[in-house]
Structure formats: C-alpha cells, structure tokens
Symmetry: C2
Subunit: 129 residues, 2 copies
DNA sequence: CTATTTGCAAACGCTTTGCCTGATT
DNA sequence: AATCAGGCAAAGCGTTTGCAAATAG
C-alpha cells in the first residue's frame, strides 16, 4: 500500500488542465481529444492512467452517473449533477437542497445511510426555453 | 418501430421467474446461473435478450446503480435501493422519504427536474450489528 | 542511476449482434 | 408455412494492463 511518489509529466499536467478548464464534465475520450491538440502523440491509456491518479489524489473527481460513460469533474466540491434529456449535457446543480438531504435520509429505518449518489434528469436552463 | 409480437418461450418464462422470485436484484450472470439449473444449455445471450425484452415491456425493471454491473428487479414499483458497503448486497429501502423528495427537488433553480436517480450507500440491517 | 511514466497493443469484463437452426403460432 | 426465439461465437465498447523504451529526479 502507500502511494508511490509522483513525478511530474507534461501529459499529466495537460490532462489535469483539460479537466480543470471546463465545466462540461468530460469523459476520458473527450479529455483525449482535447489534450491531443497540445500533445498529438499522447495515448489514450496515458489519459486513463492520469485521470485515475488525479482522482485518487483528490485533484479531480469522478462522476457517478448511472448508465453513462465515466466523466470527470475539475470541481471537487460536493455538488449535484443534472443530465439534460434534451441536449445530453451534464450540468452542475445549485444545491441548497443537497445540504438538507442527508438529514432527510436518516429517517430511513432499514438502512444506515453513510452517503448517497443523486443524479437528476430533466431540462437544463437552455433547453427549458 | 412498433413492437413485434412476442411468442412464448420456456427460456423467457424461466428468466422472468428467476428475477421475480428473489429480492436480491440479480445481475444477468446471476440469472444465468440460476436458470441454468433448470435449462442447462440456455445461453447467456438469450438471458440478456430476455432481460431486455422483459424490461422493455415493463415486466421487470433495470437498476440504475452507479459503477455497478446492471442488475434487475422483479419489483417494478417505484422504490429506492441501498448498496451495503459491508456485504455488497443491494437492498430495497423503505421510502417514505422518496415520496416527498420530488417536491423537495423542485426548489432547484437552474435545472428542471423530471425524475431523479438516487442510490444510497451505507450499511444494511444485518451488517449494522 | 533508479524509479516512474509513456506509447503501444493486447486483454478485459460486460453486453450486444449476426447467423443459422429450432420452436411457436 | 411464416416468423419469432434460441444457441453459439464473434464483435463491440469503455477501460485496464504488460512491456520495453523514454524521462524525471
């Protein structure tokens, strides 16, 4: 066990920047496409490896979306996501709701909730018009 | 388009029964193992095909669990699921909470919620002891 | 100099599909 | 007899991994 030391690599930096610089919650493939413009011969395997390491070390986070390709988020704060049924985008959701939900869920009698995963489906602001 | 007519087959009946007769939320592989005791030469492809058809026609339902193999549920009523961090089981969760949640979620300002997918993580009753 | 990281390609796990034979209506 | 469903095996898709060469410290 124990994490081994991490060395700098321009590939990891580029992967990190690609995730950090957008709020589109890119998939590994999306990140690959984006980073390739800067480092044309980067391999998809390297992108996957770096996404995992960055997520392990808490610098980015992984999105738990049902029936979806894994997506990554540069915003590591605790928040919710909505998937727009119209345009397919994954958007950040304002979370006053989120804050009370944990208490709300402790009302459950046959299961002890330590965390939950909530994904909303509906219409984003753009598609609501 | 348009659904084609469905014919009876003993394989589909067995797949249906396997899902209906348990509350363990079996995966396709689980169903395969189970049905094989009755129909030893059934193929895994047939199990998948029938699970899809049964779900399409609403006779069983598909579980949207993040980062999990797809599981199936013979209980088609709207309810929540908890994944036990100790034993890995997926259990049905009593849902008084669930009923109010939709209203609760309409408070969100930047996303119009039409449905949501909520999975709980924690401890089931057995593992809480 | 040594350990880590890369690129590449092969392997993986789960699920779907094509093709031809067999079963249902 | 006309379709639909099954068995089998191959393919598909997203992701992981083994390996030898390159690179950071």
């Amino acid at each position: 066990m124990g994490r081994r030391t991490q060395r700098y690599s321009k590939q990891r930096e580029a992967v990190f920047n690609a995730v950090k610089s957008t709020d589109s919650h890119p998939s590994a493939e999306d990140v690959y496409e984006s980073v390739r413009r800067e480092i044309p011969n980067i391999s998809l395997g390297t992108v996957y490896r770096n996404l995992s390491r960055l997520a392990d070390s808490g610098k980015i986070s992984t999105l738990e979306l049902p029936d979806e390709v894994t997506r990554y988020d540069g915003n590591t704060s605790d928040h919710l996501h909505g998937i727009c049924q119209e345009c397919g985008r994954v958007v950040d959701v304002e979370l006053s709701v989120h804050q009370n939900l944990h208490d709300y869920l402790s009302g459950i009698s046959n299961f002890h909730v330590s965390r939950y995963s909530l994904t909303l489906h509906g219409l984003c602001r753009d598609c609501l018009n």
